[in-house]
Amino acid sequence: MGARTGAGALGGGLVISARAVERRYGRKRALRPVDFELSPRSFLVVTGANGSGKTTLLRLLVGLAAPTKGELEVRVQRGALGYLGHEALVYRDLTALENLDLYGRLYRVSERRERIGMLLERFGLWDVRGERAGSFSRGMLQRLALCRTLLHDPELLVLDEPFAALDADGATLLDRQLADLRETRTIVLSTHEPERVERLCSDRLALT
């Protein structure tokens, strides 16, 4: 029986504490037991081959799934978590602006309109803000997803292979964004190219 506890459960100022955390789906083991700890304002890079459980681990961290064994404590409230997964998690038939407005309301973002405008501009989507997300290219969708992830200024950022779907411009923007946030936020990032974030990262976790 696994446990995942939320804010306020940790001592020692840790943001994440994982002990023998694993996740199975019936017979399949999606994530082998893993142990690690993460302090505030660190940058954890998660690497591993396909199928080693990177995505599963990240989903466990943000609470999209619960561990089947072990104990996982994430000392961040749901509203302060930012997650970027493989899918953009936006509505195809809503415009970029409407999508962000929806999430802005749900996350109770203060000065919503200004913040949305700022993010759209930062990621080069201001001109297409009134277009349906369904008409976006893969790279643009990923950039919109990034806006969604950063909209509520999360304390803990969890990014699952964020560079994979980005075009070259988008990747540069993300590099810059990560460098900006490095000092003040805690970041967990999974990737196939760890060299890209080598100079930023403080912790490494290799999954088998």
């Binding site: 446990a3 789906y25 019936g26 017979r27 399949k28 619960a66 089947t68």
Partner: protein
């Protein structure tokens, strides 16, 4: 041990029903089926209730162990539900000459429950194994147990207004011996259900332990 007790109980109830209990003046031999039909029905309810209880425990304590227990209980409940329909139908044929009676509220209720719990299995088989299947099955099991009283009320209402009956059936007047026989039969059937529940649960647990062992050895 449990199986032996069950066998003894079932055996003695059979003896009581067919040899000891007096024959009903109106219905004769066919009335004897009541000694089985009613306990089977009650046992089915009990199984569904147990399944719902285990489902609640699963959602509350988040221990996956309860998933299998809930599933097996509902499985048993469905089997006994089918038996209820069968014995009820036999009784209806023997007493009224029809294989089915819409006026029999119990039977109609079981028909609705049968549909519901069959969908339970289809739902389960269409979901990937894992915590999500366990959660969804549990929620559905809770819906089921709430459906029992609600459906019963609905059928009663329907009976009175939408399909008023021509026949009225008096409840069986039970003598002392009959009542005793009934109780023994009830305990016997319950014991049988519980034994089957334990057997199936054990079998499935052994299966899954074997699988885990095999995995651990090969990885």
């Amino acid at each position: 041990m449990l199986a032996a007790l069950t066998a003894m109980l079932v055996g003695s109830s059979l003896v009581l029903v067919f040899l000891v209990a007096p024959e009903d003046a109106d219905q004769g031999l066919s009335q004897k089926i009541f000694y089985f039909h009613v306990p089977i029905a009650l046992t089915a309810y009990a199984c569904f209730g147990l399944g719902a209880y285990k489902a609640l425990l699963l959602l509350w304590r988040k221990d996956e162990r309860y998933d299998l227990e809930s599933y097996v209980a509902i499985h048993q409940g469905t089997i006994f539900g089918v038996l209820t329909l069968a014995t009820g139908s036999i009784w209806a044929k023997a007493s009224w000459g029809h294989w089915w009676l819409w006026s029999e509220n119990q039977l109609v209720l079981f028909l609705v429950l049968f549909l519901f719990y069959t969908a339970y299995f289809m739902l389960r088989f269409s979901l990937e194994e894992g915590p999500r299947r366990a959660n969804i099955s549990a929620v559905y099991a809770l819906f089921g147990i709430v459906l029992v009283p609600v459906s019963f009320l609905a059928i009663r209402l329907a009976e009175n207004v939408i399909h008023p009956t021509v026949f009225t059936r008096e409840g069986p007047q039970m003598t002392g011996t009959m009542f005793f026989t009934f109780c023994v039969a009830w305990v016997a059937i319950s014991s049988l259900a519980y034994t089957l529940y334990r057997v199936e649960l054990l079998g499935k647990r052994v299966d899954s332990n074997l699988r885990e062992l095999r995995e651990a050895l090969t990885s």
